[in-house]
Symmetry: C2
């Protein structure tokens, strides 16, 4: 394919994507396919000779679309939102075209420098303390990671290295292996599984800190486990606080946890993967109070700030801590600007070596929406979740299971977990909307997350009526069974 054909086909693809997104509400949100559906539809081997674009293009509707879960459908209320916007799509076309691999400043200065500056923009939008910004000669700064999981891992690794060095400087006779065996990381029992995974990867212990009745970790809960562990000879070194937990969007108490971590020489990382975008609205910024005690902070513009995946924004107070955990410098990656204070080699800030020009899409989105446009997006989602909450509360058969703070509503039928599992199954089997569940303590709970950029009141209204009707049908057949069960239990 030459440039001339690319011009033609590229425009057709742009139209295809525009059509897809304009009419996405007409598609069934969750696909009908069964596992293994795709393999019989395509050949066993790559073709020997080139196929035409037309042949490939027609397979999109024939082979791909029947198996797509439509994350941008206004009937998609599962997981958390995956961001999508036209400015981000435009920037990604440019990113692909430039196609640089920005692992060092010299590998593409614009790629590195735009990232640093635009992360300062974003940091200012959420009023991050000055120490986290790169500025012209700051010790901190921001970086775009691929995912919050990577941000957590990178901060845990930085904390691990820093702690090993500190302990070894205090007690030179202790080996690194001995220290590793005594290190403990902590996170809420509501924290994302990626925190446990980061500890697993890094070869250190991790412990859950019990959250309270609001699914929040407070200072005293952390203090208690720290004291027990220190008494047992362990070395607490890392705490991952969550702002906006995945199950129910609860918030750990930074203002209690932060000073405790600082006193105990524990690196505090804040994972605000979903909730972080809301902090651009002054009315939600208080949820971030206490960030001044943190060593690193992360949230995902690719979740809720209209920047297509992947764009996970991470800031550290001391970039030297990150670099210290990673820096290895072979000659083919050195360049003569390396010693300058202005130069950032982002490969020392992340797990992979290569990186795309991802700051372009953040830059496009921030400029083409403006702060006010993005605030409107967040506020609309929060308004819609409260609309859904009110609808649930008006129906006595249902209960709300956690405080609705941002765009997530956790709800369930009053009754058994089995009943709620059955409700979720009927909802997802009907495929008019799509939800996923969570556990809150012993309760099986349905999560209703406002996701799509284009979701409106009417979609939420529809979703509720649909859920409510399915619940009515379910309860009609369910209650006798349940009564039978209860009678059996009483016998």
């Amino acid at each position: 394919m030459d440039a001339a054909e690319f011009r033609k086909r590229g425009k057709e693809m742009v139209d295809y994507v525009a059509d897809y997104l304009e009419k996405i509400d007409k598609r069934q949100v969750f696909p009908d396919v069964e596992p293994g559906y795709l393999r019989p539809l395509i050949p066993d081997c790559a073709p020997q000779d080139p196929e035409s674009f037309e042949d490939v293009f027609k397979d999109i509707e024939k082979i791909i679309m029947p198996g797509v879960t439509h994350w941008h459908s206004p009937y998609f209320f599962a997981y958390f939102p995956a961001a999508s916007s036209f400015p981000a799509l435009l920037a990604d076309i440019l990113c692909g075209g430039i196609g640089c691999v920005g692992f060092s400043w010299a590998a593409s200065p614009a790629c590195t420098e735009l990232e640093t500056v635009v992360l300062d923009w974003l940091g200012k939008m959420i009023n991050l303390p000055e120490e986290f910004l790169a500025g012209k000669d700051g010790q901190g700064g921001g970086v775009i990671q691929g995912s919050a999981s990577e941000a957590t891992l990178v901060s845990l690794l930085a904390a691990r290295t820093k702690t090993i060095r500190r302990v070894q400087s205090e007690k030179p006779e202790v080996t690194e292996a001995e220290i590793m065996g005594r290190l403990v990381a902590y996170a809420s029992d509501q924290a994302h599984s990626s925190v446990e995974r980061a500890a697993l990867i890094s070869g250190v212990k991790i412990k859950s800190v019990p959250s309270d009745e609001r699914f929040t970790v407070c200072g005293s809960a952390l203090k208690k486990v720290l004291e027990e562990d220190k008494a047992a000879g362990l070395i607490p070194f890392f705490f991952c606080a969550t702002l906006g937990t995945t199950p129910c969007c609860s918030f750990d108490k930074l203002l209690e946890l932060g000073p405790l971590c600082n006193r105990e020489n524990i690196w505090m990382h804040i994972d605000a993967a979903y909730a972080g975008s809301a902090f651009i609205c002054p009315e939600f910024r208080h949820l971030l109070n206490g960030v001044e005690f943190a060593d690193s902070f992360n949230f995902n513009p690719h979740k809720w700030l209209l920047v297509n995946f992947d764009c996970s924004a991470m800031w550290v107070k001391k970039r030297s801590d990150l670099i210290g955990a990673f820096k290895l410098e072979p000659l083919y990656l050195q360049h003569h600007h390396q010693e300058s204070g202005l130069v950032t080699d982002y490969r020392h800030w992340q797990i992979p070596l290569g990186r795309r020009f991802r700051s372009l899409k953040l830059w496009f989105v921030l400029r083409m929406y403006g702060v006010t446009g993005l605030q409107e997006h967040i506020r609309k989602h929060v308004r819609l979740s409260h609309q859904f909450e009110r609808l649930v509360l008006q129906d006595e058969r249902f209960e709300i299971c956690a405080e609705v703070i941002l765009g997530l509503v956790c709800f369930r039928l009053k009754g058994s977990n089995e009943l709620n599992k059955a409700l979720l199954k009927t909802i997802n089997d009907a495929k008019k909307i799509h939800l996923v569940p969570c556990h809150l303590r012993e309760k099986f709970v349905l999560r209703f997350a406002i996701c799509s950029r284009t979701v409106e009141c009417a979609h939420v209204q529809f979703a509720w009526q649909h859920i409510s009707q399915l619940a009515t049908e379910l309860l009609e057949t369910w209650e006798p069974n349940q009564q039978q069960q209860q009678e059996q239990e009483q016998c």
Copy 2:
């Protein structure tokens, strides 16, 4: 921006990218900017109100392009190639439009299933042993990682978990921390820095195995270090063989190393990040002989197989080994198809949780080029590197520093490292072409890598004439200085 405006602007962006790539040879390959150039060119903060697309668009040429290193210029001979092709760009537009996050089968069945099948295609193209393919019920299979660094890390982690479990089952009294402290990974002294980094992240020791005069690790070299380390009570568990090292594209001797690793219960991972693409040509496939002894294998279609970054293809013989190192299963990520043998949840195969629909671009490229089209691309690059090699060999002032096997030529002026550093500096300061250096033992060497999809004989010819002329100018001023130095040294 609504869909109607996206149609218009998307087409303008497609044209911009087509223009950029068509006329990239007119741009200076390496930028003129100094560190810190970008910050003064843009505002301190994100705009409060939306800006127009025109405003953003005109900043591409004004702010971004002056700081871009043009990786796709036919005058770019640095690092290794970063792949780029029009079919891949088209697929990435589609990938952005669909915008699913394919962490599990249910999160988008097409995203998962296409990846599995297309990696079988690619595996067959390089004649990987059947055990590495997923097929309908295989124990192995392929996955797209973001980078070779991640593939190495993931395989090292799988090996670590497997070894810890094995040792603990043999000696239940030994703690995990003790085992961790005794684990050792190995790689060539020519291996990529990401291998050392993977060990650092995983908290295990790593040792370099000395390569021979051809920069190759042979079986006896590994055997020697293994015996020393086992005698010292260490536990060798992982060897990363390199096919196509970064400094000089040398190849470790798989047929000697593989059986040794198998005998010693050592996980053998093969990193063929650059060279792997060449194995689609029958005349280069012999370089992969011995892969049958490996546990995991990786190469980067985003380097040399015309699939834009990021697309790093990795295969394992036993997918359960990867999953065993990672699997954590919170309820919100469970789905009712989970137990089926046909279902793959790729989040258990990788470091991040989220993932884009990257198999689309691999699928588009394989189909629109066909195997023959991709073979032509590889063969052209290898032909051009041999053309450059011949030009170097015809000039008695220069020497070739390592066997030219694929698309990389390592060369230098006969003389001191200082002389060659000066030559590289004059080349890169002139900015007509761009190269990076490496060290081969004590020698400072220039790397000439055939990179661009559009590079032709004429560009290589031009590059050589330019280098040769700069060498002539340098030697005219250099020789007296050098003689002086030598005289001083003799005094």
